[in-house]
């Protein structure tokens, strides 16, 4: 069992092509966060959903998915996202989930540089940070997770069998039948 405490989530009313969970992160400040599974495409007769995740910014009434909140509760937030996966599969057992990091895009580093307090030299420490966090979790628990889930890695727009401790830009997760 995931030993990190998770926030309680509220499932929002299902819309045609997406499933959303909402919760409040409580750290230095209170931040509303949304986990969204959005329909993308069909692969091998399975509907694939993108796992999206971001902060609600009340000031501009919009969502941000490419900043680090630095709210001091990263582990709890990560645990909450993980906790939503079995909930999603419980209702969508035939579906698959694509996980990619919003900090893996080409222009992330130049955006990060403007607000980041880290003094990175040539390599931005936040680049690819999110997908690395997911990969690290999968790698550490691969044997147990593989009993119920099938993992594939996305690399250069191609799909390969997931091999722990390898570099991927995305992870595709299927629930075993």
């Amino acid at each position: 069992m995931n030993n990190i405490p998770a926030y309680n989530t509220e499932k929002l009313e299902k819309e045609a092509d997406r499933i959303r969970y909402i919760f409040e992160s409580v750290g230095e400040k209170s931040i509303t966060k949304v986990i969204e599974y959005s329909y993308l495409t069909i692969i091998s007769d399975r509907k694939v959903y993108n796992l999206g995740f971001g902060d609600y910014n009340a000031k501009v009434d919009d969502f941000i998915d490419d900043v680090n909140s630095n709210n001091g509760d990263m582990r709890k937030v990560f645990s909450t996202v993980l906790d939503s996966v079995p909930k999603f599969f419980k209702e969508n057992s035939e579906a698959a989930i694509l996980v990619e990091g919003s900090d893996s895009v080409v222009d992330f580093m130049s955006k990060c540089e403007k607000t980041c307090s880290k003094r990175c030299d040539k390599i931005c420490k936040n680049f690819n940070r999110r997908i690395k966090t997911y990969r690290y979790y999968v790698d550490r628990n691969f044997v147990e997770l593989s009993k119920e889930y099938l993992f594939f890695g996305i690399i250069n727009d191609d799909i390969v069998q997931y091999v722990p401790n390898s570099e991927y830009s995305g992870i595709l997760v299927f629930k075993k039948k």
């Binding site: 069992m1 995931n2 030993n3 990190i4 405490p5 998770a6 926030y7 309680n8 509220e10 929002l12 009313e13 819309e15 959303r20 909402i22 919760f23 409040e24 209170s30 509303t32 949304v34 969204e36 959005s38 993308l40 495409t41 692969i43 091998s44 694939v48 993108n50 999206g52 971001g54 609600y56 009434d61 969502f63 998915d65 709890k76 645990s79 909450t80 993980l82 906790d83 996966v85 079995p86 694509l98 990619e100 919003s102 628990n141 147990e144 997770l145 593989s146 009993k147 119920e148 889930y149 594939f152 996305i154 727009d157 191609d158 799909i159 069998q161 830009s169 995305g170 299927f174 075993k176």
Partner: protein, 56 residues
């Protein structure tokens, strides 16, 4: 099979107050029908555009 499901499921779920529920309900109303992650979804579609079958 049951055990691996437990890996993702959190052992402890922090309770949510009534006030928080109300705040979240307000945000939920505001975002209903809105596309929140349009750029990310487009990028994800691009990542999968050449993939039609699994390598198994």
């Amino acid at each position: 099979m049951k055990q691996s499901n437990q890996i993702l499921k959190a052992k402890e779920v922090l309770p949510m107050s009534k006030e928080t529920k109300e705040r979240l309900a307000e945000v939920a109303k505001k975002i209903e029908g809105k596309d929140l992650f349009q750029d990310k979804i487009e990028r994800a579609k691009k990542s999968l555009r050449n993939i039609k079958t699994l390598p198994i």
